[in-house]
């Protein structure tokens, strides 16, 4: 009994041994995680929006071109959404090497982050567009709106709540992905937890990294919720 208790206490003390934590390194890793997430989110947002629009516009159209385009995009979306991120990142090493010139550091994580999340976000955008009442689009057409005017004056504003909540979900999953990217040397909190926490047996480092990631996720969710509430006038 007593031995079990002391065992528990020793585990706890390992987790709480904050003297092992190098706060400067922790801060640096946090900044790396945030910048990796934000950098990829910006690209994913625009790429996903474009891809989602393409999916929406080509879905159900009867021309051969639209049918082929939809198939191709849909297959790409499904493939990249299905590959486990840790495999994708390894799979992409040669591509990353040619594109970025290195496979280490935050920038090297970008290709894998974008390829895994942009298709996912594109699907959410497409669903958002499709939820818009067809009648509203028809009304805009009846008023003489051009294709482009329909996109930026009807589709995007009317599906904004879906787009905002979609990008929130995507960003949160990206935080997780950046941690995984850390394992292959992309830096950030995942990298720190792996190198110092796991390989050098410093559980306190892992605990702190976990808590910081949780805080980041909560903040992103809170911002997303506030924004959705603000744009949703339904």
């Amino acid at each position: 009994m007593l031995s079990k208790l002391s065992f528990g206490a020793s585990v706890l003390s390992e987790y709480l041994d904050f003297s092992e934590v190098n706060w400067e390194k922790m801060q640096e890793a946090t900044i790396e995680t945030i910048s990796m997430t934000l950098g990829s989110v910006v690209i994913i947002f625009f790429a996903g929006l474009l891809l989602g629009l393409l999916l929406y516009e080509t879905n159900g159209k009867n021309t051969v071109f639209a049918k082929i385009l939809y198939r191709v995009v849909a297959i790409l979306v499904n493939v990249f959404r299905s590959i486990p991120f840790i495999i994708l990142i390894v799979l992409l090493i040669p591509v990353t090497k040619t594109l970025v010139g290195s496979i280490i550091g935050p920038v090297a994580a970008l290709p894998a982050l974008i390829l895994s999340s942009a298709p996912f976000f594109a699907r959410l955008v497409e669903i958002g567009f499709r939820e818009i009442d067809k009648g509203v689009v028809e009304a805009a057409e009846a008023m003489g709106a051009s294709k482009w005017q329909i996109i930026y004056k009807v589709l995007i504003p009317e599906s904004l709540p879906a787009i905002v909540s979609g990008i929130t979900v995507t960003t949160i999953s990206l935080v997780g992905a950046t941690a995984m990217a850390g394992v292959i040397g992309a830096g950030g909190l995942g990298n720190l937890a792996y190198l110092d926490g796991f390989q050098r047996s410093q559980p306190a480092v892992t605990l702190v990294a976990t808590l910081i990631i949780l805080v980041i996720v909560f903040i992103i969710q809170a911002i997303g919720d506030v924004l959705v509430k603000k744009v949703d006038k339904r």
Binding site: D133, G135, V136, E138, A139, A140, E141, A142, M143, G144, A145, S146, Q149, K153, V154, P157, E158, L160, V231, K233, R234
Partner: protein, 346 residues
């Protein structure tokens, strides 16, 4: 002037080709309110969408003020559409925009300068009676108010033609009448041509000048509202009119059956009065002078754009010769008389 010539629309579906509209020849004068009535599936939605090129005819032409809409494409079609307003059953407002922004929307599409745009929107919101609600979102409005926004939006670019796609079908009777009054008012004030489709004869009667009855993709009957109401030719038209003038027609039919069985020598007649006859003591004159007995089964009087129309179902009993004379007498007084021989299914 709007002219549809030999318009036909065929849709290709997986089950084969479907003819939605065929042999449509219509001409509508400027400033007219033209109603198209039909049951759902009759092709009226497809037809109304051909006026602004949302649907293009498979065959035939649609011309507005001499411009052949059905041959326009791209930019020139969009330009033409800006001069054709349209309102919808489900309003189709942008929920992300306020009332004011919804009205501004077509003006933005037409690239009107900002100052003019705002002045115009203000004027339109006043026209439809929504002052003070400019900053409200559609979700905060009632159905009637939403349709008013729809109307203001449709009128934004000073159209010459307004299309109404079942514009009152989602509204309660009271609100329907308010919206119809507004449409009539706008028609008079702006000399705006209105083409509306509906499945309610009530809407036609209240505001239309002319009516076309659609069935199975074809116009089966057309004419001025008063003529069609007075002397409907087709069964389907009679059915529509009867539903409007006598919502309890099933009950009336039951009474007909009983009376026909009970008094085989008597005659049930449907009388239609129009204009000043509706206000004359015709029936008492007939009873007094022709010596027939009369029992009233059902009656109603309704207002159209061209005076009142009265409908009366009565049973005439007495000597059959006298009944015949009475009917002749009624016809002489320009009352439409229809002898009910058997019960019509309404």
């Amino acid at each position: 002037m709007i002219e549809l010539k030999n318009v036909k629309k065929v849709f290709q579906t997986k089950q084969g080709s479907l003819t939605a509209v065929k042999d449509i020849n219509v001409s509508i004068k400027d400033g007219e309110i033209y109603g198209i009535v039909g049951y759902s599936g009759a092709g009226k939605s497809t037809l109304v969408r051909m006026f602004n090129g949302l649907e293009m005819p498979t065959d035939g032409t649609v011309a507005i003020e001499g411009k052949v809409i059905s041959q326009l494409k791209g930019k020139s079609l969009r330009k033409e559409r800006q001069k054709i307003g349209m309102i919808f059953q489900h309003f189709n407002l942008l929920w992300s925009r306020t009332v004011e922004e919804n009205v501004l929307f077509p003006l933005e599409l037409a690239k009107m300068p900002k100052k003019e745009r705002e002045a115009k929107a203000k004027e339109l919101i006043g026209l439809v009676g929504l002052e003070g609600r400019e900053k409200a979102y559609p979700s905060q409005l009632s159905g009637g108010q939403k349709q008013r926004v729809g109307i203001a939006r449709a009128l934004a670019n000073d159209p010459t033609l307004l299309l109404c796609d079942e514009a009152t079908s989602a509204l309660d009777p009271q609100t329907t009448d308010e919206v119809l009054d507004l449409l009539l008012d706008i028609n008079k004030r702006l000399n705006l041509t209105i083409v509306l489709i509906t499945h309610e004869m009530h809407v036609i009667r209240k505001i239309c000048d002319k009516v076309a009855v659609m069935d199975n993709g074809k116009i089966v009957e057309e004419g001025s509202v008063i003529d069609v109401f007075k002397k409907p030719q087709q069964e389907i038209t009679k059915r529509f009119i009867r539903q409007d003038s006598n919502p309890d027609s099933e009950d009336t039919d039951l009474i007909f059956e009983e009376l026909l069985a009970e008094y085989p020598e008597g005659k049930i007649v449907h009388l239609t009065f129009h204009g000043k006859q509706a206000k004359m003591p015709i029936m008492s004159k007939i009873v007094r002078e022709d010596g027939v007995d009369l029992s009233i089964i059902q009656g109603s009087i309704q207002q159209t754009q061209d005076g009142a129309i009265g409908s009366l179902y009565v049973q005439l009993t007495g000597e059959s010769q006298k009944i015949q004379i009475a009917i002749e007498e009624l016809r002489k007084l320009q009352v439409e008389v229809e002898v009910v021989e058997h019960v019509v299914e309404a």
